[in-house]
Each structure stands twice: as structure tokens, then as C-alpha cells.
Point group: C2
Chain length 594, copies 2
């Protein structure tokens, strides 16, 4: 969705919003760490995140890649910076086509700084000389598809600042009129350059309104993390430093912790003053760090975790092509990125692929671990790659995960169990200790309010429901006992399959079971999570492959433990089991005498 | 669905089934009465109903019409008889094409009796000489589309019966082989000629099995209602009358009531003996009467009303083209035939027309009163066409209907309120007395078992839900008050429209609201009833038109009451209101201080 729409939606509900800016790191590990941080920060529900375009286009490919991953894998609304420096039109269009094809709708159009080592901006042959022309080009060639944001300079553009006292009144006014031209040409949001003098920003804001700029003007706040960085950046941008800021920093400038703390304090005060003027949006230049941004937002009361509401049980996609996606199979609940990458070629998601006759055709099991590859493998290595004497050792590891003793799980992209699982942790530990090795589960929920902090989703005014679900590997003998027991329980349905494809089930191959649903005013029933036998048969390959790909393979080639893992993989069944009686049933008690 | 499939489905669940045969009445009023009776008998959930083809094709058009109405309006699985008498192939195909186009899948293929006044069957030029050729023709020209039933003669075909002692062993055996030929040619069910000697039937049944007839053989039971009719029919068919039957009838033959009572007793005993032999299907020749059929089925314990379960909240269609229909707007809940006739051209019903982007396009408001036109109008005339002094008189009539004091309602095809409405009758009386003239309503239901006799549907093992719904006409001033009150109640949504098309609503035009839904094992959530604003705008024309078409027009042209009705129609709004909080809300209490 376009940022302007999101801002307008929030304004209609009188909500304060915030957004985060990142830059492309220089190393591969840096990029991995950034994704990890973004993922955590996405949980705070920023309105959008943007990624900068390195000076002179130096990071073009990486910026594009990060924007696409942010939008599609992190599932946060993404805005890509785009500059004119060293960019002939064909390169500009290639970048825009690239994000459009990946469902991104937001661009921040800039002239851009000169490349490193150059003093002045130079227009490239076949390119543009200013952001205005870039805005015009985007509107002319892409119509209304993109939301276009432009930069506003509360102290005028640095190029217009010719003395220590800042820009002349004339230069400032000229710059303001230029900003209006950019808006008139089609920009729909303004984000400002960083500033530390809030009054200057507020004056700028009023000046914009005076000359007829009506679009949202979002203040760009750069928390001070580090004195040297602060001096470099404000020097580069020719930013005025109020005396009280300079005075406050001087005595603590060598104490990074104190500087950061002050930065949070200053950022908070600046935002408070801005919000007090009725401005509802704040943009944070994070410098790829989360602490200061989090500190400021917490001080402002904008990130009360208990108030953060899930629109759906899973993090909804922001890719415009997936905007209507409203149902997923439960199997990938702990591997949402794997699911996204395996369904990326789907053309429509009216009801996922369910509820009609077309069967899902999944892509290959790949790109499943885009996030935290290194750190995740490290954790799995530490927690799971331990000597195993027999299968009991495996049971213990699975049980320990459910008990919270270890945090990583080969079958999960996520860290630790989901909060709602707290209800059933003890049961899960028991079940796993008995050799039913759970990889996915949810408790039953019978009509809890949709704003419940643990199981709620979809906003207030509704009721949410779940059928208890548990998915596990178990030995064939254990499955026999289970199948026998289920015969007496009409409410329990299951489907089981071995790595070789032997199946057992008491449901048909097309019996799609809604296991999470919600009832809301003036809506059809939403049913965002289903057990779909067709998808299960796709998922099972991934689930079995995981024994080796994400666990066994981390042992030394001749390790005896590896053989035990391999045996379990070859012999065990993967079982998907639903207790359909979400009112009177007890899916987890069910295992007690097995 | 084909009768053979339905029989096989029932056998798989070890269910006993029954079916009813009717013949085309001679007068228009007779046809109307038959529909009324069929509709009541359809409530007993017969496996199918069949309609005979008058001797010599004399009722061809009427038979076709009745078959189509049975299938599409009564919504019972229909089987049309078809005979060879006076039917060249083109006529046969026209009849078959006719029922196929109307979603009927079942034919009873017969040679047929000679036309009235003729003694012997005569093959028509370009036609067939026997049922076997008709079966072959249907299979050759229509492939597997039709389920084909043929007649079996436990005492051999009457033409083969040459003496009082019945057919010779040779003639009987020849007839049996001919039956096998019909089955081998493609018939999949046998219904027998009437008989009164159950042992003869059981012998016939075994003989059929002996020669390799494996399809279902359904005994045809004709309850004795009337001595003369019994004598005529058994004479015509050369049916053996066991001595004990003749002896029992002799002393009561002039007492119709006693004969009917004996007929029920005899039919019951015959069926019991048949069922005791493991035969699971019984076909009843009703002679268009319901009493004897009902009596026998009741004696057999096959029509325990408290055990009859609704597959959906509305009677599901049997037309094969509507087989997937699983959702309807609530507006036509009391006018299901009007709904069917207005949607008859729809090509698919995957989710009705909801849940996707195609908007419903309804047919004209016509054929809305196919059932009980005369008797219904008579009741409306008696109960509603009374002198009115002012609008209060109207309020009283609406209130009286909810109080059960009158049984007919201009806005309802049905008789009296639906059983589930009992919960809210008192409230409805109050609401109507205040001038909120209800035409449709349902109480809230919060997770009752799906086999509940009042609100249950969809079979056992599930839970059903409803949002409280009420639809009414009211004066603009009353609507103003209501709108004001609703502002404080976030759970109440409404849409209101006047006859001139002025609308007021607190929902969007595409906000489809599921108001009845059910949760079942291994299924997606079923949501068979919705409030759909687009459909409401179609329905409102029908609802407003009804003031005049089904009420006002029944008064004399210059009656003052008629003018009052016209004023209300012109001035009032039609309001559709949902209390979305099906757990804590109270939609009907809501009106108390209005």
C-alpha cells in the first residue's frame, strides 16, 4: 500500500505513527544482522521502513534486494530511496520495474549526494539533474502506481547554505518553493532532513502550509548515538546545533552510553514537542540500530507491546500482489518465510488456493533460511548438535524446547515458542518426552475477544476461535496405538505420512479444515489458518528434509548421533492432528495414556 | 443426484430410506393441492419422489412441469416416468432434454400401458416397443447423465399373466430374464409393481439375485385407502390378494376409515417383514395422499420429526446445477421459492455469488407464488384484508402474526413462524406493536450443538451460530431515533432504504455479513446465510412491492384501508439490522426504549 494511504488511514483514526530508515550494510554479515534487527523492529508495527540508496548509486543492487526482502520476507511496508546520481533513465526504470515486480509501491525520490570523492553533484548523461525531474518521470511513466516521497529541508538544502548562520532568507524561500514544485509534480509525502532545533522544524512546517503544501510533512529524527558520528553527520548536512544540545553533549562526549541516553532523552523531547503541535507522524533515522529508536518510542508510549494487535494470526504480507491473502495452511506457521518463498509465484490469493477447485502448486523448498542464517545455525549447533545415545536423546531435545530450556528449533524460523503456546507448554513437554516429537501446535480457543493480547487478532469487536492442533513425528508403533484410540473419538481427525509416502488418515484428501477463525461485525467469517491435506503432502517433504538439512548435516560425517537422526527420519511418520471439538475436546489430554 | 448414488450413500450408513410416488392431477386446483402436499411430505426427507407419465403420454407436459417443480421448487430429488406409448424418439428426447436442462437426473423407463380405450400396447412409428429399448436409447444418447430406474414385476408383467393362478413358471422366468436385460442395458435401480403378498416379493427378490441382478430392488407398497380403488387397481394389475387380506377387508369394505386404518396396518406389517430381510428401501405409491404413507412410516419409526435434521438452515436445492450452492442472503428466508426463481439463471453457486468479486444479478420478481396460490390468497384475504382505521391497525396485524394469532403473512411463503423464532416471539410482538413491522428475524445462537432440533443443521459433531437479525419496515422518525441509538452501540450494523431508494447505513455497500455459520470436523467454516447489501437492494423492491401486490390489491379499489397501506409503503423505510455480538448482545432488547 502507498504510504500516503497508510498515513491517511491512521489520521482518520487519530493514530500517531512512526517509521524507520535503514542503510545498506557493507558486509554480508552486516546485512544478515540488519534483517534480524528489522524483523524485531517490524514487530513494533512501524508504518513503513525505508532503505537508502548509497551515494552515487554505489549500493544499487543491494538496496533493491533489501527493499524486496523487507517488503516480502519481513512483511513491512517498504520504501526504496532512488537518486539521480550516476543514473541514466534506463537504470532508473530498471530499479523501479524491479520493485514494482516485487510488489513495492513506495519510492523516496532524491537528487542524491555526489559519489564519494566528488565535491559536487554532476548530472549523468541521459539522467536527471534534480529530484523534481525524477518525480515527474515517475509519475509520467508509472502513473499512480507509486507513492512518491520527497525530502524537505527545514534549514534549506545544504547546497543553499553558504555561511555558519545558515541559508539566507531568500535561499530558504527558494528552497521552499522548489519543495512545492516537487509536491505539485506528484510527490505525496515529505520527510524532512534531520534537525535538532525543533522550533526550526515547526517554522518550516508552518511555512510549507503557508505556501500551499498540504501533504503530510514527516519530521526526520536522528537519535544521537555517538558523538563523533553526530558531529560528522551534522557537519555534512550543515545542521544547526542548539546551544543547549551542544552544552549537554560537551561534558559526556567520550562516554558513548551517556551520549546514547542523552540522544534518547533529546529525541523524546523533540517528538513530544512535535506531537503537541498536532503532527501525527515521526520518522526515525535508525542508523541500523534499534536501541535509541525503541527508547524514544517507548518514552512516547507508542510501542506498548500489550497494545500491539495482530491483524491476522500470521504477519500479513505487504506486497501489493498478496494484499488479498487471507488464509494459509498451518504447517508453515513457524516457517513463514519458507511459505512466502514457496508461494511467491502465485498470481492470486483470494482464499489462498483454498475454497475453490484449483490445487496449490508450491515452489521448490529453497531460500527458506534467508533470515539469520549464520546466527541461527550457530544456535542450532550449540543447542541441538549434542551427542545422542539413542532416540531418547532426541525426545529430550524436543521436550527441552517446549520447556523453554533451549530457544532454537530446526523446524522453526522463529525464536522460542509463540506466546499463546504458554497454555499448553507443560502438556507439550510430556507429549515430546513420550516420543511424539512436536513441530507445530496451537491450543483450542473458544470465542475469546479479538483484542485478547495472547490469542487475539483482527482488531476489536470480534471473537476468535481455534481448534487445538498438534503436529509431530512419531514411530509407526506409536501411530498404530494412536489410530486405534482415535477410532473412539469422533472429533479427532488426522493425516499421517512417512518419508516414503505411506499415508494413514481418517479424512479425505480434499477435507480442508479451518483451525483458526474469527467472527467480526459486518463481515463474513475470517478463517486465516487451515489444515489442507494437499498442502500437507508438500510440507511433509520439507519437514522430513529438515531432519538432515537443518540438524543431521551439522554433525561430523561419521558421528553416531547422525545415524540415529537418519533412522528416525526414515522410520517415523509425520502426523497432523486436529481436535475438532474446540468447546468440549482436549487434544492434548488425549496423549496421556498412549 | 442419481437415486442409485443416494441409495448407496444411505446403505453405507446403514440407513433405511423411503420414497413417494405421485400422479399428475386432472385439475389445476388438484395440481396446487398436490404441490402443497408434496411440500409437506418433502419435510419428511424422502430419498426421492417420482411422478407418473399418464397412460399414452396423456399428461406429458404436466408430468414434465411437475417433475421440474418438484426438483427445483419443492427441492426434493425427482424422478420422472417415461413410457414408449405414443412417443416417437424425438418426443422422448425432448422430454429427456427438458428435465436435463432443469437439473433432473432420474428417469423411470417403462413400456407403458395402452392409452385409455385401447386394449393392447401398440408400438408407435419411430418409437420403441419395450422398456429395454428405451433404457438402451437413454444410455446411448445421454451416457451416464441419467440414473435409470426400471419396473420389476414380482408376479410377472400383467401381460404374461394368463390365468387366475398367475403367470406360469416359464412366463415368470422369462419376465425375470427380461428384467436382467434391462439392468444389463443400463438400469441401476428396480422398483417393483405393487403387491400384497410379501412372500411373493421376497421370492422374487431372491430369484433376481440368483440370476445375477445385483442392483437395489425397491419394493413398491400401495397402501389400501379405499376398497373400490383397491379392487380396480389389483384387478388391472392382476395382483394376487392373500386370503387374509381379502378376509380382513370384506367386513369393513364400506367403511373408508376402517379400510384406511387397515391399509396402514397392512403396509406396516409388509414393510416390517421386508426390512427384517435386510432390504433397506421402501417405495410408497401415495396415490397423492399423505395420511397412509405417513402412518406407515411413523409405525416404522422412520419419520420421527425430532430426529429429522436439516443439512442447511434452508432446504438445499436438489437441482444438479445448484448442487454446490452453500450460501444465500437472509432476505428471502421466508420466500425460498421466490429466491430460487430469481436466481434460476445463475450458472454457478460456488459461494452463492459472494466471497468473490462478481455481483449477483437477480432475475425479475416473478413466479414467486407458485405454491398454494389459491389457498394462500384465501388465507391472506381472511386474516389480513380487514378494515383499517389507521397505521395502528397495521401494527396490530403484524403483532398478531408474531403472537401466532394469525398464520399467514404477505411477506412469507411459509405458514406461521419458524420453530427457532419461538425464542423471540414475545419480543417480536412488542417490537411490532411499536411500529417496527418485522418481516424476517432470527435469534442469536452461540455455539449450540449442530444436532439441536430447533437451531441445528449440518448433522452431528459440529457447533452452530447465529447473529441476531431483524428486518422491518418503520416510519422515518422511528428510523431517526434508531440511527441515533445505534451510534452508541458498536456491535449493531444496519442498512435502511425507502421505496424511493433513499438509503441510510453504517456499513459499506460490499460489507457482506455472515449471520449463520457452523463449525464442523475437518471442514472450512460453513456460512450458509449472509446479509449482503447488494442483494438487499434487489430484495427491497420485492419487499416494497409486496405491500400492494400481496395485500393492498386484495381490498376493493376504493377501500380506505388500501390507502393507509399505500401510505405506509410510500413513507416507511425497510431496515435490515444485525446485532453482531452473538455472545453478549441483545438485538431485541435494543428496541425497548425506542
Amino acid at each position: 500500500m502507498k504510504v500516503i494511504q497508510k498515513i491517511n488511514n491512521a489520521l482518520a483514526q487519530n493514530q500517531v505513527t512512526f517509521s524507520f530508515e535503514y542503510f545498506p550494510p557493507r558486509t554480508e554479515e552486516g546485512v544478515e544482522n540488519l534483517y534480524e534487527r528489522m524483523d524485531r523492529m517490524a514487530g513494533l508495527q512501524p508504518l513503513f521502513c525505508d532503505i537508502t540508496w548509497g551515494a552515487g548509486g554505489s549500493t544499487a543492487d543491494l538496496t533493491l534486494d533489501i527493499a524486496i526482502k523487507m517488503q516480502n520476507m519481513i512483511c513491512v511496508e517498504s520504501m526504496m530511496h532512488l537518486t539521480c546520481t550516476n543514473m541514466p533513465v534506463d537504470k532508473i526504470d530498471k530499479a523501479l520495474d524491479g520493485i514494482k515486480a516485487n510488489g513495492i509501491q513506495n519510492v523516496l525520490a532524491l537528487r542524491g549526494d555526489p559519489p564519494h570523492g566528488q565535491d559536487k553533484f554532476v548530472q549523468v548523461s541521459g539522467g536527471f539533474s534534480c529530484a523534481l525531474d525524477l518525480v515527474k518521470h515517475i509519475r509520467a511513466h508509472y502513473g499512480d502506481y507509486f507513492g512518491i516521497t520527497v525530502a524537505g529541508y527545514p534549514e534549506a538544502h545544504p547546497d543553499a547554505i553558504t555561511s555558519e548562520e545558515g541559508a539566507t532568507e531568500e535561499a530558504y524561500h527558494k528552497d521552499l518553493l522548489y519543495l512545492k514544485e516537487k509536491v505539485d509534480a506528484g510527490a505525496d509525502v515529505i520527510i524532512t532532513q534531520l534537525f535538532y532545533d525543533t522550533d526550526l522544524f515547526l517554522k518550516f512546517y508552518n511555512d510549507c502550509r503557508q505556501i500551499g503544501i498540504t501533504c503530510p510533512i514527516v519530521p526526520g529524527i536522528m537519535p544521537i548515538n555517538n558523538y563523533k558520528g553526530f558531529k560528522r553527520m551534522t557537519g555534512f548536512c550543515k545542521t544547526k546545533i542548539p546551544a543547549e544540545v551542544a552544552n549537554a553533549l560537551e561534558p559526556i562526549k567520550d562516554d558513548d552510553k551517556a551520549v546514547t541516553a542523552y540522544g534518547i532523552h533529546l529525541g523524546t523531547e523533540m517528538c513530544k514537542k512535535i506531537l503537541a503541535h498536532g503532527i501525527k507522524n515521526v520518522h526515525i533515522y535508525t542508523l541500523n540500530l534499534d536501541k535509541s529508536a525503541f527508547g524514544i518510542l517507548q518514552n512516547l508510549g507508542l510501542v506498548d507491546i500489550s497494545k500491539i494487535r495482530r491483524p491476522l494470526p500470521w504477519r500479513p504480507p505487504t506486497n501489493i500482489n498478496r494484499a488479498k491473502e487471507d488464509v494459509r495452511p498451518i504447517f508453515w506457521a513457524n516457517r513463514p518465510r519458507s511459505y512466502i518463498s514457496r508461494t511467491v509465484t502465485w498470481e492470486d490469493f483470494p482464499h489462498g488456493k483454498w475454497g475453490d477447485t484449483r490445487s496449490p502448486a508450491y515452489g521448490a523448498y529453497a531460500d527458506y533460511q534467508f533470515l539469520r542464517r549464520r546466527s541461527r545455525n550457530k544456535k542450532i549447533q550449540e543447542e541441538w548438535v549434542v551427542p545422542l545415545n539413542d532416540v531418547k536423546g532426541i525426545y529430550e531435545l524436543f521436550a527441552n524446547y517446549c520447556a523453554g530450556k533451549i530457544k532454537s528449533h530446526p523446524w522453526s524460523e522463529l525464536e522460542g515458542l509463540q506466546p499463546e503456546t504458554a497454555k499448553i507448554n507443560t502438556k507439550l513437554v510430556e507429549i515430546n518426552s513420550k516420543g511424539f516429537l512436536t513441530v507445530n501446535s496451537q491450543p483450542a480457543v473458544n470465542g475469546e475477544r479479538s483484542d485478547s493480547p495472547t490469542v487475539g487478532w483482527g482488531g476489536p469487536g470480534g471473537y476468535v476461535y481455534q481448534k487445538a492442533y498438534v503436529e509431530f513425528f512419531c514411530a509407526p508403533e506409536k501411530l498404530d496405538k494412536l489410530v486405534e484410540k482415535v477410532k473412539g473419538l469422533s472429533s479427532v481427525t488426522y493425516i499421517a505420512v512417512s518419508s516414503k509416502g505411506e499415508t494413514r488418515a481418517n479424512i479425505g484428501p480434499n477435507d480442508v479444515n479451518a483451525v483458526t477463525w474469527g467472527v467480526f461485525p459486518a463481515k463474513e467469517i475470517l478463517q486465516p489458518t487451515v489444515v489442507d491435506p494437499v498442502s500437507f503432502m508438500v510440507w511433509k517433504d520439507e519437514a522430513f528434509q529438515t531432519w538432515d538439512a537443518e540438524w543431521g548435516s551439522l554433525y561430523a560425517e561419521d558421528d553416531a548421533s547422525k545415524k540415529i537422526i537418519q533412522e528416525v527420519k526414515d522410520k517415523y511418520f509425520l502426523v497432523s492432528l486436529v481436535e475438532n471439538d474446540f468447546i468440549g475436546g482436549d487434544c492434548f489430554g488425549f496423549f496421556e495414556d498412549l
